[in-house]
Amino acid sequence: MNEISLILDAYFYIAITVFLLGSLYYIISWIFSKKGITNTYLGFPNLFTYPGQVSKWDAIKNILKRIFLFSSIKYDKSTRIISLLFHYSLWIIIFAHFDLFLEPYLVSIGIGIQTIETISFFAGNTLAIIFIFSGLYLLYRRLSNVYLRKISNIDDYLSLILLLLFGFTGLLMRLLLPSFYAYNVVGPFISSLFSFHPTDIPIAPIFITHFILACTLVIYMPLSKLLHMFSFFTNPTLYSIFHER
């Protein structure tokens, strides 16, 4: 195995470990930390904000609506639509990466490799473009509003810029590398990483950049505001009703 591969493979495993341990640390500390010295929130057993949220089902509905529809941003329409696009395109793209492992299976059940490649080419590029533009809008929103600028810190910019670069290099990969590259080269490499028998990393600068950015993001996640993706389920104002007194 060459040196670059060795370093990058190690980086990959370090990233996954940091991500898992870091996220677990936070999730566990949010769930299991005490409400307070008297085991109440300064006297109160609960903190829920929604009137009529008397059943657990109401609370679940409320949390799910917040997560999937961004229901709490209802009075900021443009921000809501654009951040919905931003988050959904990101998640779909991330899940679509599983086709790197799935392709051999899909082919084996009779879906033509050409069909897969065409769909993922068009859908992937469209989503990446949506992702990049909505991300740029969010950056613009942060920079153009003096109030928002005042409360923003490096983390806010870094998270967004890392994500944008990640999306951009992904798009470039599609456009610059020959078709079937993902299927023939990247897929097997990623599979090898997950099966703990890493092979040499494909030598394509754009792929290596994308790969490094992805690992960096994964490391950065538990250290930054990107943690917010886990917090919905542990926030006492939203799920407090599940606590026993």
């Binding site: 936070y26 500390s29 949010w30 930390s33 005490k34 409400k35 307070g36 008297t38 929130y41 300064l42 006297g43 109160f44 057993p45 609960n46 903190l47 904000t49 929604y50 009137p51 009529g52 949220q53 008397v54 917040r66 961004f70 709490s72 941003i73 009075y75 900021d76 921000t79 951040s83 942060r142 153009s144 509003n145 003096v146 109030y147 928002l148 005042k150 409360i151 923003s152 810190n153 806010d156 505001k225 943690l227 917010h228 917090s231 919905f232 542990t234 926030n235 006492p236 104002t237 939203l238 007194r245």
Partner: protein
Amino acid sequence: MKYSIRDIILESPSGKGEEWLKRQKSLEWSYEINERLAKDEQLEKIFLKREGKEKDFLDAFLKLGNTKALRNFMETCMHCGICIDKCHMFISTGDINNSPVGRAELVRRIYKDPRVKNVDLSKIYSYYYQCTECRRCAVFCPNGIDQSEITRNVRNVLTSMGIIPEYVVTTLAQVYRVGNNLGLNEKAIASVVNFLEDDLKEETGKELRIPLNSKADFLLIPSSTDLFVNTDTMKGYTKVLNALNKKWTISSRATEAANFGLFASEKYLRDFGNFVVDEAISLGVKTVVWGECGHGWRSASNYVRYELAKNGIELMHIHQFTLKALERGQLKVDKNKNDDLFNYHDPCNYARGGNLVNEPREILKMVVRETVEAKYTKEETFCCGAGGGLLADEKNWNEFRAWAGWPAVYYSWKTGASYMISPCAIDKAQFPYVIDYHKVPLKMKGLMDLVGYALEI
């Protein structure tokens, strides 16, 4: 970019909006309220001393920082800014430190980096006493970050160091002295009760009693202001309880629905709640009926309820009690007595802290000719701008509070109603003032007042 909701400032019929905006030249602008800090002899009355420095604040806050709420709220904010223009304090001042996230940042910086040494305590004090603990931010924050809970934690620490406004301290001291915020002793209460009974006799021609300190099934906890200022509310309670022939009483030792402990620290919240519990036990009541008070109901339904339950006593709000009777047809009401258009304003602590949004609406529909809803209702309601211990009558503060209450009054005014109905003791003191300041053609009443007018007895 500007926040369009702030345009309502210019729409004030008082014509003072432009000048008010001009005074907000920078992003950080607010009245310092430091001069209102309590003095040593006042602190003594609530068992406090002014002690501790920046370093002590740091240590105490970081210790609290291990709790579930603070961990979540300090670590998960993504600085999206959605909450900024949801806070009436930001809308009225345009001061970023007076927005939920801006306020949180004042302590989040310390939380995230405990090596920070230079804490500006007077800044923290100033802004943390300008949050009315209304929780509107928690409804709109995608993550549900509840700034009022951060405020309560910070105030807990500040209070223990004796850093607390004069107004809050004098109120707390009154409760320790006589059991209510206004400082009415037993003699004063007895004479007010006599006066009210005479008044009721004149009005209705009937002998309606307000039993004081007697053994009964129901203990009514009115706001002390209901006895003194908002007497129509007190008359409403009296008419309902008498019409139902209940064995009820008020107590001269627990004549306070409000609980300023919520605005200071956990110790006071518990102490005042326990005063009521003790009184309920000693009078042998089965049910405690809570009067009209927003934050008082939040403390009652989230704290007193459980303490009472340990002694087999039930807690009810006067609205829940009245609605039940109305639905069973035990009370006869005549809608025509309230022949006008009414808008119900949700007190923030009923809607976001006390689970009381439907009962008052249903009562209102039964006792008035017509009702209308405002743009932001239920959990989205705007705060009156005087909660959190900000009702103080101070020279500089008064103008501030007239603007802090403007969003709530503005949206009620825009419904075209002639009456704004808000069953909360603080609202009843704050809104008439805001309405008057802005010269808005609105009148303000409590809900039980209307029940009293409509009741046929």
